[in-house]
């Protein structure tokens, strides 16, 4: 049982990590237009945070919409 709980918890940590990799990839492409230095400016930082929230909003809205249509 402990092993099952350990695997379960590793599994959900891994899913979170993979979601963060995917979101960073998507939001970096859309929010960081060119590399002129190594800092994120305020606008890029704001964009990344909005991107994550809007992506999750969209995801949740679509899942609920699919459930309602069944």
């Amino acid at each position: 049982k402990e092993i099952a709980a350990f695997l379960e918890s590793e599994n959900s940590k891994q899913k979170v990590q993979m979601s963060i990799h995917q979101l960073t990839n998507t939001c970096f492409k859309n929010c960081v237009s060119s590399i002129t230095d190594s800092n994120l400016n305020a606008q890029e930082e704001e964009c990344l945070s909005s991107c994550v929230n809007k992506f999750l909003d969209t995801n949740i809205r679509l899942v609920k919409g699919l459930q309602n249509s069944q």
Binding site: C31, C47, S50, N53, K54, N59, V63, L66
Partner: protein, 70 residues
């Protein structure tokens, strides 16, 4: 139980592609505005596209296997 895992894999794939496409079509950097009406329309439009693609795919595969093309 295998059938159930496959159903989960299918639903996951659908939600992932839906989110990617509707996020791309309805929201743009810097992500300062919501676009929930667009997301709802996109969901319906994507599911209609899914049906149109399935119909065309199944028809094509049946035709090809009848004619011995594949």
């Amino acid at each position: 139980q295998i059938a159930q895992e496959l159903a989960v894999a299918n639903a996951t794939e659908l939600v992932s592609k839906l989110t990617e496409n509707c996020f791309e079509k309805c929201l743009t950097a810097p992500y300062s505005t919501n676009n929930e009406a667009c997301v709802d329309q996109c969901l319906t439009k994507y599911m209609k596209s899914w049906n149109a693609v399935s119909k065309a795919y199944v028809a094509r595969i049946q035709e090809a296997s009848t004619s011995g093309e594949i």
